[in-house]
């Protein structure tokens, strides 16, 4: 029989999250003895040529985190044309009718749900610390250029509002770039305009967009005792923060399971190719709150 070869395409190959997914998928490859081909597909065109490339080298299927969910139909069509099995991870394909593409197996996290978890934790912490909502400013680090990020921040904000957080204390801070410096600069504007708050809470689409805001707050003299920042991904950034001797305003991050997304998808795809076992239509994973106290166990 032919050797199994599986592709794993991700939208931001430089990001730690995807590095992790790749690493865990590689473990599955070792365990089951198939070949894994890792390719970055940062935009639609690159994804399409990556699929061609996979077909050329005789792969039988691939897993993909697409740079845009609306690329779903094109990716599916391309895969079918080349006789490749396809499964999506992280972000689910959306068809031309705007509905999720049920026909493509998916393992993912709901961006909106993660955001809600961030919001819930913020509420919980504020209550625990007995903060008066009236004294708290809320920095939402937004990045409209990427829809998934927007869904996450929206989730967090919605929860806060449901819990009675005053709407006029919500400060959307649009970032120009999705990195720490972009977050730093964006946060500074909000702080300039609203110098009158004693306490701050911060939410963002990932860890780096919260860290920059934390640094900006530190620049204005706000520290661990009057800032609660919560990121997403539980990446190295967070570990670095937690390893600092002094506590910082970065309280927690939503740790997503890169292991499941990487290892299990690869495993499912392997079994699909090898034994014809179709993967479940959809698998949802959850995020876990990772703080200074539990980060070592969660690793």
């Amino acid at each position: 029989a032919q050797d199994v070869k599986i592709g794993f395409l991700v939208k931001q190959p430089e990001e730690a999250w995807f590095q992790d997914e790749w690493r865990f998928a590689e473990e599955a490859a070792d365990d089951y003895g198939f070949e894994l081909v890792k390719i970055g597909g940062t935009d639609g065109e690159k994804v399409l040529s990556a699929i061609d490339n996979l077909a050329s080298q005789g792969a039988q299927g691939f897993i993909i985190c697409t740079p845009d969910v609306k690329l779903g139909p094109a990716i599916k069509a391309k895969a079918d044309m080349n006789g490749l099995k396809v499964m999506s991870v992280d972000d689910r394909f959306v068809g031309s009718d705007g509905e999720p593409m049920e026909e493509v197996p998916h393992m993912g996290i709901s961006a909106y749900d993660i955001g809600q978890l961030v919001g819930e934790t913020l509420v919980e912490q504020m209550n625990k610390r007995d903060w008066d909502y009236e004294e708290v400013g809320y920095l939402v680090m937004t990045f409209d250029q990427l829809p998934t990020i927007t869904e996450r921040t929206q989730g967090a904000t919605d929860v806060l509002m449901e819990n009675g957080f005053p709407e006029d204390q919500v400060f959307e801070s649009p970032m120009q770039t999705l990195d720490t410096e972009g977050s730093f600069n964006a946060a500074n504007f909000a702080l300039t305009k609203h110098a009158d708050f004693d306490k701050w809470i911060v939410a963002g689409g990932n860890d780096s967009s919260v860290i920059g805001a934390i640094r900006a707050l530190e620049g204005q003299g706000f520290g661990a005792e009057n800032v609660i920042g919560i990121g997403i991904n539980g990446s190295n950034f967070v570990v670095n923060e937690f390893e600092k001797e002094e506590e910082t305003g970065f309280y927690a991050s939503v740790k997503l399971s890169a292991r499941r997304h990487g290892y299990e998808t690869a495993e499912l795809m392997y079994k699909w190719i090898k034994n014809g076992e179709e993967p479940p239509k959809v698998t949802w994973t959850t995020g876990q709150i990772m703080t200074r106290d539990n980060y070592k166990e969660l690793e």
Binding site: E45, S56, K70, L71, S96
Partner: protein, 316 residues
């Protein structure tokens, strides 16, 4: 060997080093990279350079005339989104395609007019329009991809002619057309003259402003065309499409011997430049080279290629 054959080979070598480099690379990759020299991969390789290739045609003209265009990447996204939005709202594929092309031409005309008539610096102007039209693409699409529901539109990007995907055929035809335009028409010669010595061209009565406006409009048209084809291939218009593409296109041209100072360009060089860029990525992926190392390898290959190319000028 006779004297003339010798000198002919020498001439070939001097003028076409980059082509020789390409051929050498191609042969080596075919031998050493598994799956590289297969029909399927050749098609995949060609498809992967369609957008760059289409735009390189007119970028060659812009560079040959001594200018620069950084706005093409946004134009691709803007016209793709425009096409998608218009198809969805009118239901007509043709109106959508034409509007998309016009959107591209619009960007080009603004660039051309600003640079030729107002005398604005090309780099800043096209960087500004790059921002403006990326913004327009985001605004029109509200930052999300616009899916297209009219399946007829997908033919442009996904059909085959004689077993070859249509986009590749379109690209090849465009190379032929722009090659003829450069070498065999007054327009092409005027472009090279303007880039080679603007003052001399002007004194000789060439309408420099008009030529530049035409070049930029054509550039906008081709970027728009590339955007439409891409939207068709992706069955949606994407506001984030083609980011950073402008530098790839310019690199392909420069690699192909187009002078950044204007006045020097050949279509064969540009074709080869585009292919080398595509070939490198293709081979790296086939070899399963890790992403981080791909950066290093791609940069190094680029350096080596221009170094070999310069050696010829030394040897002259």
């Amino acid at each position: 060997m006779t004297e003339t054959t010798k000198s002919r080979i020498k001439n070939l070598y001097n003028n076409y080093t980059i082509i020789l480099i390409f051929i050498t690379m191609f042969v080596l990759l075919s031998i050493f990279v598994p799956y590289f020299f297969t029909w399927r991969n050749m098609v995949g390789l060609a498809l992967s350079v369609v957008t760059i290739g289409l735009i390189a045609n007119t970028m060659m003209f812009a560079l040959a005339s001594g200018d620069f265009d950084l706005s093409v990447s946004s134009t691709v996204a803007f016209s793709g989104i425009t096409t998608a939005v218009v198809i969805n709202s009118t239901g007509s594929v043709w109106i959508g395609i034409i509007t998309g092309l016009l959107a591209g031409v619009l960007v080009g005309v603004i660039n051309g007019f600003s640079i030729a008539k107002l005398g604005l610096n090309a780099l800043i102007t096209t960087l500004a329009t790059q921002m403006i039209f990326r913004g327009m693409a985001f605004i029109l699409s509200n930052g999300r991809a616009v899916g297209i529901s009219t399946a007829g539109f997908f033919k442009l990007g996904n059909s085959m002619i004689l077993g070859i995907p249509t986009p590749i055929i379109i690209m090849v035809i465009s190379f032929i057309i722009f090659g003829i335009l450069l070498n065999n028409t007054v327009f092409g010669k005027n472009t090279l003259a303007i880039g080679g010595n603007t003052k001399a061209a002007e004194l000789a009565g060439i309408n420099v402003d008009l030529t530049k406006i035409i070049i930029f409009s054509a550039q906008g048209f081709m970027a728009g065309f590339a955007g439409v084809i891409l939207a068709s291939r992706m069955t949606s218009g994407q506001p984030n499409a083609a980011q950073g593409l402008e530098l790839d296109v310019i690199s392909a041209c420069v690699l192909g011997g187009v002078s950044l100072n204007g006045g020097i360009a050949t279509i064969s060089g540009v074709v080869v430049g585009v292919l080398i860029m595509g070939m490198i990525s293709n081979a790296l992926n086939l070899l399963n080279v890790a992403t981080f190392y791909q950066y290093v390898v791609r940069g190094s290959v680029l350096l080596i290629a221009i170094y070999l190319d310069i050696l010829k000028q030394r040897s002259k």
